[in-house]
């Protein structure tokens, strides 16, 4: 039984009178604060009317304790929810005094801001009798933050000074007095000061409401009790996660994620993640991540931590209140000067869609091996979900007003397949928990665009025993204007995501143009009364990875596809009825069913030709048996196997991969032993290494002319099951996704 603190009158943790671990009040106040965040979110939407807020929900709201630890948030992405804490913590250090009535404004990712300068953070302290009790804050992607290009993302290498206007923490209300001069100083730097001004007022209105509500809470329960409950909430989340960690197997787990093209050179940039799980502690180590890029790929430290928070809030602990207590049993190593912790003047305008997104992907790969053994977590093993491929389109709109605009469909990637079901179609990122997407009518109302199609792209889901979700694809044309000036940004155009347990990656993304295939719409209306315009979709010209000044004419079609979700498990283990129903639903073509899943579908009935399928799948297995061992694929000699290191416990690492009780990597399907836990099992698995292309991953993706990126499929020599997949630079040895803690310092 819990003890009672006589002064506070509620149940406290023995020995910590400043901290209340009260299961009832804690829950009541948590709900109250989450409700408050929703009220603030409604104010952001209502008061601004920004397309980004209303139709895409691109903002977060949060409550924080007096030190600036996040207590609750509703958030477009969890990274964005966490970022609010950066402004509070920096402000506490920066200002000589924080006073009742202050409201602080910041958008500098290098100095107390959110993930990128587009995300303006507005926070307000909440006082009770001149004592700082807590903070409320909002972080929102506002209409414009100036800089060289509309949309504010740099295309070519550029330093941060040219990217956007940035304000380090500044008081926009000082002791209750509104600083019009501060607002004006900001707005003079932006292209659309009216709309941006309305956005910023909305953020201030939201914070105002939050502060009122928080004051009501403090008045109701008393200052000391609220402070003690907050401390207890952080402690409770941390403790719950710590308990969970104790039950996970110790070890060193590695993963990686790849980004492409720095704006000048199309080279691969790698974010590396090593999870070191030791007892009740988990370290997230980005060591080995590439140095910061000259182009837009980087993020600052707030992104490195945000990525970790996003993984904690989704894979590890979605059922524990998302607060900063989750970080109690965690340490984070993000080397300075790398992609995930850039030093000025590295450009960071694209942080949210590059390093502060892909960092989570690297964690996901490593985490899949760590949580495979935990009954309460293994069902969340998934590869990375969608990422952002987007473009800023610019012209006058049909109302004659200056217009620039982002088509969101490129972010609507398929969800990763899970161990027990297929990935969701078109669902954005794993961490975008409060995001949604606009209606076609929302777009067309205010933009000079006519959509001809928007739907799920057939065959785009990564193959696997469970299939990745389909990507969203859309096809549209300039409407009532001569054309658009386009700035394009791809992700995963040619560098696919990781997968789980031998699944294959989903499709790459694309922005492409169907040149001159359409008569302009007026001609169409005059001459073709019944012809569907979508039939004009012709040969597609792939846009460059990153480029500005692309022109789309009114006779051109504009095609965009997000990424497909990665598969989970060996594709030729997929149940036959699932493949046939995929074909029936239009998710998978007859051709892909044969090629990727080894299933022969009869073209008219869509039924499975079972004898032919058995034969085909056998042939695929026989072909796999012919593959060379990994040790003969890579240059150099394979490491010698000195035998297992202890302590040894049986452990699952994937659907068919595990460690047996004597410390050997084995195939759990046939019992084949690869090698001891002292060396990477991948040297002793059969390996099919191919450059990333359509044939290798059975999905649309741009082949890299450099041939620098490969996909490696690992097959059990015993039963020919495809047990694992790896995306890697051709020059790098296989990633050692799991090794014993004792080998932590061994270079792989």
């Amino acid at each position: 039984m819990t003890s009672i603190n006589p002064e506070l009158g509620v149940l406290a943790d023995p020995g910590r009178p400043d901290m209340i671990v009260d299961p009832v009040l804690s829950q009541i106040i948590y709900n109250y604060e989450l409700t408050m965040n929703r009220e603030m979110g409604r104010a952001v939407v209502n008061l601004s009317g920004s397309f980004l807020f209303v139709s895409a929900s691109d903002f977060s709201c949060g409550c924080l304790d007096a030190e600036g630890n996040i207590l609750t948030t509703i958030a477009w992405s969890l990274q964005m929810g966490y970022a609010i804490s950066n402004t509070v913590k920096t402000s506490l250090k920066r200002f000589d005094s924080i006073n009742p009535g202050d409201v602080i404004f910041c958008n500098d990712p290098y100095d107390g801001g959110g993930l990128h300068a587009h995300d303006v953070v507005v926070v307000a302290p909440v006082f009770s009798d001149d004592v700082l009790v807590m903070w409320v804050g909002v972080c929102a992607h506002v209409s414009d933050v100036g800089g060289a290009l509309p949309g504010g993302y740099s295309v070519e290498p550029m330093d941060v000074f040219g990217e956007n206007i940035r304000f380090s923490p500044v008081k926009i209300y000082d002791k209750g007095e509104f600083r019009r001069d501060v607002l004006d100083a900001f707005l003079t730097n932006v292209r659309v000061p009216d709309q941006t001004g309305v956005d910023l007022k909305a953020l201030m209105g939201a914070v105002w409401i939050g502060r009122e509500r928080a004051a009501g809470l403090i008045e109701h329960y008393g200052r000391d009790k609220v402070v003690a409950i907050h401390a207890g909430q952080l402690e409770q989340s941390g403790r719950a996660f710590r308990e969970r960690l104790v039950n996970l197997p110790d070890g060193v787990y590695e993963g990686a994620a790849h980004m492409e093209h720095d704006g000048a050179n199309d080279k691969i940039y790698t974010i590396r993640m090593t999870l070191v799980k030791d007892g009740d502690h988990l370290e997230f180590d980005y060591t080995g991540t590439d140095a910061q890029a000259p182009g837009v790929l980087n993020c600052t430290e707030v992104g490195a931590v945000g990525n970790v928070m996003a993984a904690l809030g989704t894979i590890f602990a979605p059922d524990i209140p998302f607060n900063e207590g989750l970080l109690n049993p965690v340490s984070i190593e993000a080397p300075l000067g790398t992609l995930v912790n850039a030093i000025k003047p590295a450009p960071i305008s694209g942080a949210t869609v590059y390093a502060a997104w892909f960092g989570t992907d690297a964690i996901l790969e490593a985490a899949n091996y760590l949580i495979a053994d935990a009954r309460d977590l293994e069902h969340r093993r998934t590869g990375p979900w969608g990422c952002w491929t987007f473009a800023w389109l610019q012209s006058l709109n049909q109302h004659g007003e200056p217009w620039f605009w982002n088509v969101f469909t490129g972010g609507s990637g398929g969800g990763g397949a899970l161990p027990h079901h297929d990935g969701e179609n078109a669902i954005l990122g794993i961490q975008t928990i409060d995001a949604f997407t606009p209606n076609i009518e929302d777009y067309e109302q205010q933009s000079p665009v006519l959509f001809l199609q928007r739907g799920f792209a057939r065959d785009s889901g990564g193959a696997g025993r469970f299939r990745g979700g389909l990507a969203l694809e859309s096809f549209c044309v300039p409407y009532m204007v001569p054309g658009w000036d386009v700035v394009a940004f791809h992700n995963r155009l040619s560098a696919p995501s990781s997968t789980v347990s031998g699944g294959l990656p989903g499709s790459g993304s694309t922005i492409s143009f169907a040149r001159g295939v359409l008569p302009d719409i007026e001609t169409h209306q005059q001459h073709s009364t019944e012809a569907p315009i979508a039939t004009y979709l012709g040969d597609l010209e792939q846009a460059p990875t990153r480029a500005k000044g692309l022109w789309v004419d009114r006779t051109d079609g504009y095609y965009m596809r997000a990424t497909g979700g990665p598969g989970n498990g060996d594709p030729i283990d997929r149940a036959l009825d699932q493949v046939s129903s995929d074909v029936r639903d239009g998710a998978v073509s007859v051709e892909l069913a044969r090629e990727a899943y080894g299933v022969v579908i009869m073209p008219n009935s869509f039924d499975v030709d079972e004898p032919a399928t058995v034969e085909l799948r056998d042939a695929i297995r026989r072909a796999r048996q012919e593959l060379p061992l990994g040790s003969s694929v890579w240059p150099g000699t394979p490491p010698t196997d000195p035998g297992p290191v202890g302590p040894v416990n049986e452990q699952l690492l994937g659907e068919h991969l595990g460690i047996d009780s004597s410390g050997w990597y084995l195939c759990r399907r046939c019992g084949y032993r690869y090698c001891s836990n002292s060396v990477n099992w991948k040297w002793y698995a059969k390996c099919d290494q191919q450059p990333v292309n359509r044939n290798a991953i059975h999905n649309s993706i741009k082949e890299r002319p450099q041939g620098d990126l490969v996909v490696r499929l690992y097959v059990c020599p015993g039963c020919a099951t495809q047990v694992d997949t790896e995306i890697a630079l051709i020059t790098e040895p296989p990633r050692w996704n799991y090794r014993p803690l004792a080998l932590r310092r061994v270079a792989p």
């Binding site: 209105g205 719950a240 997407t437 639903d585």
Partner: protein, 693 residues
């Protein structure tokens, strides 16, 4: 005589208003899936208790007003019609994409889109396209349409939903598609989005049309059968259905817009509260309808029921005008459990009607809110539901044991914790709803009806700073009471995006167009009211416009004159300005940007003749407690003390007493906590008033 019949999941409630204005009420069991059987049983019970035959009784009825959960049940159980959906070519996945709503789900293994009511294979894309102005870009390909419809008909599909892009601006293609379907299949049910919900946003329109096509045929079968039976037994009056917007409509209109009957039952309760607000003279009410699995909350502000044009039921978007009812997953059956961080949670899982809370003795093993209430002495162990059911404290305690051990609290603290958490969850929902509407809950009176609300209403009110709670005399049949308090209502709206300058200025030509819109809507309202043959002096028509600042989307509906002038527009935006300032403070308003005029709405209310309700105050003596029981007296303190028990059914108007006390009615129990005074008003309602410290 007017009869109100409200079908709920468990009971069918019947309220009869006699010609002298007095009410009689009865309760019978509902008889799913054949709900009409329960209705007839109820009629027989009412007739026999009046000493009449069924035919005599029905023959004397002028109106039969009906609230039904048929539509809701069809949706919840997904037991509707197989629907064929027609969309614009290229957009067959719009419905399944569902704007990627994932409902704040963090767990990747649970993330999903709302599951569509129409599988992808029953979606046909049709060649046609309009632009945002309603201009035809691609003509309707009628040959292709016929092929698509035939394909669906060949699968045995007889119910259709149509949603084309921009059809709310120009319905020409949807109208033609509907004609062609009916030409190919004259008996088909067709829900076209331009009729089901002519508003912007193709996903919401598609979802609403699909709901209508999914539930409409079954609703039609049900009401036609019911009407046939009533007529056969001699009923000659009008059969009217309660719609989600709180108005009554004819069978034909209700079936055509089946989506508009989803909140038929809960809406009736809110309408009853509105009637209550009129005769109590209380303008601001929050309705609190707490049942077994959930609690419904709605707002009446300045005598008007707050409505909304978008709701989600089981994640299905429904975009029709309706009473803004928020449902919270907390009720008497909600289960208490320990979250991984060690905190105590309540709901949304519920023990439901079966097995119900552990104390019901029907096999429930997990602790529900009712179990906690029983342990707190709030529910009568032997006299529950007027003695019809016994509650087992030991079973409740046994169910609670495991939870106590897990969260480290004593049984009393755990039970009290569940009571508080449930109250807080409901208070949060009310706070969120009022704030979304720009209102302050402290300016409201809480009206509690529904079986489980009486024990929680005073505590929830205290959380919200609400001073007064009213438990209506006929709380347990309140929805049915609402039916006989309702008028025939039709409301038509037109979506627009019209810009007004600062001060509400516009050109003469624009003014003319706006008035033409009102005229058009007025015509539709009149046409809908016409078959009801209500005399013109009892019809009142109201005109409203929805305004926002330019570039913002916070809308307020403002009442307008039937014909706009430049002067009246200036007045309207002035009203808007002052409403806005009171919510978000003077700094946030942006009148210098001008205004957007987004929706025109005309509502016609045909008043049905009904007798007035008279209240009578009697002596102010104090009632005598019938018993004493050890129970929770102070909602904030986990202590049980001896308090007075009153027989609610024996209380008389004018009587008053102070908390702590428990009032037991035959169908509900009310907690009057310490520092709260209770009195019975002239109409027999129990009024709880917080006493100032």
């Amino acid at each position: 005589m007017r009869l109100g019949v409200d079908i709920g999941g468990t009971f069918t409630d019947i309220v009869l208003q006699l010609d002298d204005g007095t009410f009689r009420s009865w309760k019978v069991s509902s008889t799913p899936p054949d709900f009409a059987r329960g209705v007839v049983a109820g009629i027989d019970l009412a007739a026999s208790s009046l000493g009449r035959t069924r035919a005599e009784f029905l023959g004397d009825l002028t109106e039969f007003m009906h609230g039904t959960t048929v539509t809701t049940n069809i949706l919840l159980t997904r037991a509707g019609e197989r629907v064929g959906l027609l969309t614009t070519r290229g957009f067959g996945d719009t419905y399944a994409l569902a704007r990627q709503y994932r409902g704040h789900e963090q767990d990747p293994s649970l993330v999903s889109h709302p599951r569509p009511l129409v599988p992808r294979e029953d979606v046909e894309e049709i060649d046609e396209r309009l632009d945002y102005r309603g201009v035809v870009v691609s003509a309707l390909n009628e040959r292709g349409l016929r092929e698509s419809v035939t394909r669906l008909l060949d699968k045995g599909i007889a119910s259709f939903a149509i949603c084309f892009l921009w059809s709310f601006v120009n319905s020409v293609h949807e109208e033609r598609a509907k004609e062609i379907i009916l030409e190919l299949a004259p008996d088909a049910f067709v829900a076209a989005s331009y009729e089901a919900c002519p508003v912007m946003g193709e996903y919401e329109r598609t979802s609403t049309s699909a709901i209508t096509a999914f539930a409409g045929p079954a609703l039609r079968r049900y009401v036609l059968q019911l009407e046939e039976e009533l007529r056969e037994f001699g009923f000659r009056g009008a059969l009217l259905l309660m719609k989600s917007d709180g108005g009554l409509g004819s069978i034909a209109t209700a079936v055509r817009a089946a989506g508009q009957t989803v909140y038929s039952g809960p809406a009736a309760g809110v309408v009853a509260a509105k009637a209550l607000s009129e005769y109590l003279g209380r303008q601001n009410l929050i309705t609190f309808d707490m049942g077994g699995t959930s609690t419904d909350v709605a707002i009446i502000h300045e005598g008007e029921v707050r409505s909304t044009s978008l709701q989600f039921l089981e994640r299905q978007a429904l975009a029709t005008p309706m009473i803004d009812i928020t449902t919270v997953g907390a009720g008497g059956g909600s289960i208490g459990w320990r979250a991984p961080d060690g905190t105590l949670r309540v709901g949304p899982q519920s023990s439901g009607a079966s097995p119900g809370p552990a104390c019901y003795g029907n096999g429930g093993t997990e602790p529900a809110v009712s179990d906690a209430n029983l342990m707190l002495g709030l529910l009568p162990p032997t006299n529950f539901l007027g003695g019809r059911m016994a509650l087992d404290v030991q079973l409740a305690e046994y169910a609670m044991q495991h939870l106590c051990a897990r969260i480290g609290l004593s049984p009393l603290h755990t039970a009290h914790g569940m009571f508080r958490v449930a109250n807080a969850v409901m208070a949060d929902a009310i706070r969120l709803r009022t704030v979304f509407a720009g209102l302050d809950p402290r300016e409201f009176t809480l009206v509690s009806f529904g079986g489980a609300g009486g024990l929680h209403c005073a505590a929830v009110a205290a959380e919200l700073g609400i001073r007064t709670v009213v438990v209506p005399r006929m709380a347990s049949v309140f929805s049915a009471l609402g039916l006989v308090s309702t008028d025939v209502t039709y409301s038509f709206a037109w979506s627009d995006q019209r810009e007004l300058g600062p001060g509400g200025t516009c050109s003469d030509a624009e003014l003319k167009e706006m008035n033409a819109t009102f005229e058009e809507l007025e015509g539709r309202v009149a046409a809908a009211l016409e078959p009801h043959a209500i005399s013109p002096d009892r019809i009142s028509t109201t005109y409203r416009v929805e305004l926002s600042y330019r570039r913002q989307i916070l809308n307020f509906e403002v009442e307008a004159p039937s014909r706009l002038t430049h002067e009246s527009l200036a007045g309207l935006v002035g009203v808007f300005d002052s409403r806005y300032r009171t919510v978000y403070g003077p700094g946030a308003a942006a009148p210098e940007h001008g205004y957007s005029l987004k929706t025109f709405r005309v509502t016609g209310i045909g008043g049905l003749a009904r007798p007035s309700i008279a209240g009578s105050a009697s002596s102010g003596d104090a009632p005598v407690p019938v018993a004493k029981r050890v129970a929770l007296a102070d909602v904030d303190r986990p202590e049980l003390t001896e308090l007075a028990i009153y027989d609610g059914d024996a209380l008389r108007s004018g009587q008053s007493f102070s908390g702590p006390a428990v009032v037991e009615y035959s169908d509900t129990t009310v907690l009057v906590p310490v520092r709260v005074g209770a009195s019975v008003d002239a109409f027999g309602n129990l009024v709880l008033e917080r006493e100032e410290a």
